[in-house]
């Protein structure tokens, strides 16, 4: 009888041992030993963006564009004279959005075109602005063979304006978007500050307006890195 119960207990122990091994090994095999097909899903409007682990992504660029455009539009509410001035009428400012300059440490990759389009769309939606279609701007740059940064020489500016006017697209302001970054390193952690600057230059007077937005991001080799560098004790008072 005792031998039988001993046998039973041995079987139970063996069963438990094998069971535990299987339970431990199964997720490991499942996660590391199988190939999975990729799948996609639509991110709902109220869901937050993914945060890039190695570089800026939607969470950075969207915030930069929204903040800088809101500041710029807020400042530019006062109406100005249109290029084709008519007595007593105050029209929207005609904007020639030239380009997005990337002077940061990271490649913008496919975000560059998207940043341009997002800014262009927001300008178009603002009642005090009237942007020139990008295709006219590109055609004028191709026609004149001018670099975007060479438009400030008076002769170049005249040439560029003349080409756009020939196409029926006169403008009052040149708009440039510039992305810069600053990197601070501390052991295995890095903080990168992204600054998007929108610069609007009056081509008639040379006066300019400028607005910036900043997003700070921390990159860490370990999860603990975030808590070590950004905790309640490191908050600015």
């Amino acid at each position: 009888m005792s031998g039988e119960s001993e046998g039973c207990s041995m079987k139970r122990r063996e069963f438990l041992r094998w069971g535990l091994t299987a339970v431990t090994a199964a997720p490991l095999v499942w996660s590391s030993g199988c190939r999975f097909h990729q799948f996609g899903h639509v991110v709902e409007g109220d869901q937050s963006d993914m945060v890039g682990s190695h570089a800026a992504g939607a969470e950075t660029y969207n915030a930069l564009i929204d903040e800088s455009m809101a500041k710029l539009l807020g400042r530019q509410e006062a109406a100005c004279l249109p290029a084709a001035y008519s007595e007593g009428a105050l029209g929207p400012k005609r904007i020639c959005f030239v380009c997005v300059e990337n002077c940061s440490i990271e490649e913008m990759g496919d975000f560059k075109e998207q940043v341009y389009e997002q800014i262009d769309t927001q300008i178009l939606q603002a009642p005090m602005f009237e942007p020139i279609n990008r295709r006219f701007v590109d055609a004028a740059l191709r026609e004149t063979r001018l670099r975007p940064d060479a438009l400030f020489l008076p002769e170049n500016m005249r040439m560029f304006s003349a080409v756009l006017e020939q196409q029926g697209q006169p403008f009052d302001y040149l708009l440039y978007a510039k992305l810069t970054s600053g990197t601070t390193e501390k052991n295995h952690s890095t903080q990168r500050d992204y600054l998007l600057t929108l610069e609007m230059i009056d081509v008639h007077t040379g006066r300019y307006d400028k607005e910036s937005a900043k997003v700070r991001k921390g990159y860490h080799k370990t999860r603990v890195g975030k808590w070590r560098n950004y905790n309640p004790f490191t908050r600015r008072i």
Binding site: H54, E101, N102, C103, K112, R145
Partner: protein, 487 residues
């Protein structure tokens, strides 16, 4: 004989003489294996399995042998025959299908069907992305057999070159997706560099070269936009850093930093040349490893209860072979006047060799682990089935040797690549121009001349692609704005 019988008897009765490992086996298996008749069945079954495995795998040709004829046909310009051989091989060797499709894509591209080449390359790109995940089943099978049991997921440089060639193919027929492909080149290169930083030993990191062709294509596409000079400058800077011997990029860099794409009324022709015969992999015997294993197994055989299968079969690993090039560039004449020579933006041969060298130690280590496991498996089977008869022992050793001898080095790869990707930038006035191409050696034209007419568009890039594995052109001269081409 009497002694042998007593050992068997002791084994069967569970008295002293029963091996420790047999005692550790689960009860049911132990009881089954200890039965004299079952032991014989077990021995015969294991031997039969090993011999069958050896019978089926011994003498199988490697990938490099299989594509040899197709490669020769390709280099001789017989693209139809090369394509036929590749299609036939795809049907019979599914494990090499992706490599063969890559070669097929080269045949299509060189033959003038850039759209088909793009479709094939896209297929393999997606498959290689999928195969970046590890499969435990395949890894286990590879330990039992060899590395060819694992689905081929491409070398790092191949993954980048697929995307670069996708951009080239797309530029040759409509160019609508070329920017997207060039962005993918950047992304893949970045992924590989990040992975290399984490996994590569410090001593091989400097030798781990980068594919500058991808960054260069991105640079020229960005420059053509006339608004993204900053991105173009970044890309050309990267190329200058990765390929310091590529002199032309210094002018490109200077131009995008302070000049313009082209003068008014001018456009640019980019002559892309695939020069020389590219690298392939062949089996190599790792001599030092083989000798070390030989010594180790002799020591274990002398001290252990059972003998190990002798290390007669050498340990095999792949090595990259780059054929000797008889030309080093392509000389270009424009409208009858000499213009210049193409320059190397990516040396595929050197890239393949260096990446293979970087992973050589890992491959040897895998081969040693596999060999050790095989020897251990034979030893365990001898222990389990209680082999005592010298004849059965020899039969097991022979089966073990056969099992080891069936190992093959993984020689799969993209074998139709050129030795070098070269480029020349030609700024020309708008209109139709005639370009003559001749293979060259040390600056002197050595082969026949091939002509193609090209239309230059104001402020735009026009792309041409020619393949010179030797002195003679293979296939057609592809042009994004072709007028016609003839010899």
């Amino acid at each position: 004989m009497a002694e042998l019988q007593s050992v068997y008897a002791a084994d069967m009765s569970g008295l002293p003489g029963k091996s420790a490992s047999a005692q550790r086996l689960p009860t049911r298996v132990r009881v089954w294996a200890e039965s004299g008749r079952n032991r014989s069945y077990c021995q015969v079954a294991v031997l039969f399995g090993l011999l069958l495995h050896g019978f089926f795998l011994a003498g199988c040709a490697s990938h490099s042998h299989r594509v040899r004829d197709a490669r020769m046909a390709y280099y001789q310009g017989d693209l139809e025959h090369a394509g036929e051989l590749l299609r036939k091989a795809q049907k019979s060797h599914s494990g090499e299908r992706d490599c063969l499709i890559l070669d097929q894509a080269m045949v299509s591209l060189v033959g003038g069907d850039a759209a088909e080449a793009e479709r094939l390359l896209r297929e393999v790109r997606d498959r290689f992305d999928f195969l970046e995940q590890k499969s435990l089943g395949e890894s286990a099978l590879a330990l039992m057999t060899d590395d060819t049991a694992v689905a081929y997921g491409g070398e790092d440089y191949e993954k980048v070159l697929i995307r670069a060639l996708l951009a080239v193919c797309n530029l040759m027929h409509d160019g609508s997706d070329a920017i997207a492909y060039s962005l993918q080149v950047d992304q893949k290169q970045r992924e590989i560099l990040e992975r290399a930083q984490e996994t590569m030993p410090e001593e091989v990191k400097p030798a781990y070269r980068h594919v500058a062709l991808g960054a260069y294509l991105r640079g020229i596409l960005q420059e053509e936009s006339l608004t993204h000079y900053d991105d173009a400058s970044r890309s050309f800077g990267t190329v200058a850093n990765w390929e310091p011997e590529f002199e032309l990029v210094k002018y490109d860099l200077q131009r995008v930093q302070s000049g313009v794409h082209s003068a008014r009324g001018h456009g640019v022709v980019y002559m892309l040349a695939m020069v020389g015969r590219g690298p392939s992999k062949e089996e190599e015997v790792a001599e030092a490893t083989t000798v070390s294993l030989l010594i180790a197994d002799r020591i274990l055989t002398a001290t252990g209860k059972h003998s190990l299968p002798p290390t007669i079969a050498p340990v095999k690993i792949p090595r990259v072979v780059v054929p000797h090039c008889t030309i080093d560039s392509v000389a270009i004449d424009v409208d009858g006047r000499p213009f210049g020579l193409t320059q190397t933006v990516t040396d595929v041969g050197r890239l393949a060799w260096q990446q293979c060298e970087a992973s050589r130690n890992r491959r040897i280590a895998t081969a040693v682990v596999r060999r050790t496991l095989k020897k251990a498996a034979i030893y365990s089977v001898k222990e389990m089935t209680g082999v005592e008869s010298p004849l059965v022992n020899v039969a097991y050793d022979a089966a073990g040797v056969l099992w080891e001898a069936t190992e093959k080095a993984d020689t799969r790869g993209w074998t139709f690549l050129p030795a070098k990707f070269q480029v020349l930038r030609i700024e020309l006035p708008v209109g139709v121009h005639r370009l003559s191409l001749r293979s060259a050696w040390h600056g002197q034209p050595v082969g026949p001349s091939y002509q193609a007419d090209v239309e230059v568009i104001d402020g735009r890039n026009t792309y041409m692609l020619a393949t010179f594995p030797d002195a003679r052109l293979v296939g057609k001269i592809l042009t994004s704005n072709a007028v016609n081409s003839r010899q």
